[in-house]
Amino acid sequence: MSIFITVTLSLLEGLWTTFKIFALTLLMALPLGLIISFGSMSKIKVIKWPIKFLIWVIRGTPLMLQLIVFGFGPGLLGIDGMDTFVAVMIAFVLNYACYFSEIFRGGIEGIPKGQYEAGKVLGLTKSQVFFKIVLMQVVKRIIPPMSNEFLTLVKDTSLANTIMIYEITWNAKRFMNSEHILWPLFYSGVFYLAFCGILTLIFGYIEKKLDYYRG
């Protein structure tokens, strides 16, 4: 019994780190993703193409590889003392911002042209059209793909264990080496499941809240 409690406490400790990666990634990747999406829709080629290239590279390589690059790359280049957690955050924020940007782009481009035109003939400024008319409709449209990304992020945080971040999976694996038991790893699934369950409930609530209109 005591080992069960030890494992549970250890996993809860890991959960806190997992949650930190999750929350900080969202906090930074959502606004950055919006900025990147504007960049990828820009009519200015020197902005548009580098951004498109960045999105291609980030989405075209494994997140685990990106973690290793940001985790060990600075050391290889002779830059010492970069915190591993900072490296993890850079990799996660950049990776998720690129995925988010494509969701934002899809959402923004999916708004019918008539909405912009109706705003324009009513004398609204471009920013009023975006914030008063378009944004709310974009939010409604991107909730389902966003909920997918949020859930994927919860589970992707486990990749951070590859560069020695002590999140849930790392803590579970630890017992494999020290106690020669495998079950903490299976048990860790319960924590992810609960985390995702709560998120699913939250998204369900938001979707219901936005259900008062169609279109």
Binding site: P112, Q115, V121, L122, Q128, K132, Q137, Y213
Partner: protein, 259 residues
């Protein structure tokens, strides 16, 4: 003085010349119906006058002031363009209501945002917003939707949505109200309510340009008919002249096809 005067308006998309020099003018309170087959440039003309497209050539005058001159080659600043825009109102074929707002909010949104620019906005905010709300309510009454104020567009029929969009366009007191085939997206049994509203506006001296396929309605409501084909005005005059006794053979052919 003419309230609206359009001179030599031309517009091409790539190599296709859609408008080849449109001239027309109208008096305050006049109702002009624009007819013609699809592809004749009616909608493009409307979009150019409302600054949804930029015409390549030509001038637009409102109350004698030139608000657009294609020859100047100068691009209007967004602020100028907005100011020009507010001379006109446009009712779209597909309504284009804002789905996340109620009927009342759709009508009041633009006036509320515009009021923020008034110098006395901060001091009299409450009163200004209350006035806008009252005005929006009376506009919805006017189009017969006083009981639908708090409904969202998805809860309204096509005809009701189009009536909200007419109220929305009227809320900014445009000098000229344009309609782009206002009944084309509606079931036949719903077109009547829109035509009724437009006819009512005509009796109240609202200056209107109506692009329409409803010839009987055009005859009924318009003071003047403009027949367009291939990007030019082929014939214009009173409904009796253009619809009942067309002189140009293209007008005759068009009207014959509709019979």
């Amino acid at each position: 003085m003419k309230i609206l005067e359009v001179k030599g308006l031309a517009k091409s998309f790539g190599k296709t010349k859609v408008l080849k020099g449109i001239d027309f003018s109208m008096e305050k309170g006049e109702v002009v119906a624009v007819i013609g087959s699809s592809g004749s440039g009616k909608t493009t003309m409307l979009r150019c006058i409302n600054f949804l497209e930029t015409a390549d050539q030509g001038q637009i005058y409102v109350d004698g002031n030139c608000i657009f001159d294609g020859a100047s080659g100068k691009k209007l600043t967004p602020a100028q363009e907005r100011e020009n825009q507010l001379n006109f109102g446009l009712v779209f074929q597909n309504f284009n209501l804002f789905p996340q707002y109620t009927a009342l909010e759709n009508v009041a949104l633009a006036p509320k945002l515009l009021a923020q620019e008034r110098p006395d906005y901060k001091q009299n905010k409450k009163q200004i917003l209350a006035e806008i709300e009252e005005n929006a309510k009376s506009l919805l009454d006017r189009v017969g939707l006083s009981d639908k104020r708090n409904n969202y567009p998805c809860e309204l029929s096509g005809g009701q949505q189009q009536r909200v969009s007419i109220a929305r366009a009227l809320a900014l007191n445009p000098k000229v109200l344009f309609f782009d085939e206002p009944t084309s997206a509606l079931d036949p049994e719903l077109t009547g309510e829109i035509l009724h509203v437009i006819r009512d506006l005509a009796t109240k001296d609202v200056t209107m340009v109506i692009v329409t396929h409803e010839i009987d309605f055009a005859r009924n409501v318009a003071d003047r008919i403009i027949f367009m084909a291939d990007g030019v005005v082929v014939e214009e005059g009173t409904p009796e002249q253009v619809i009942d006794h067309p002189q140009n053979e293209r007008t005759q052919a068009f009207l014959k096809r509709l019979e």
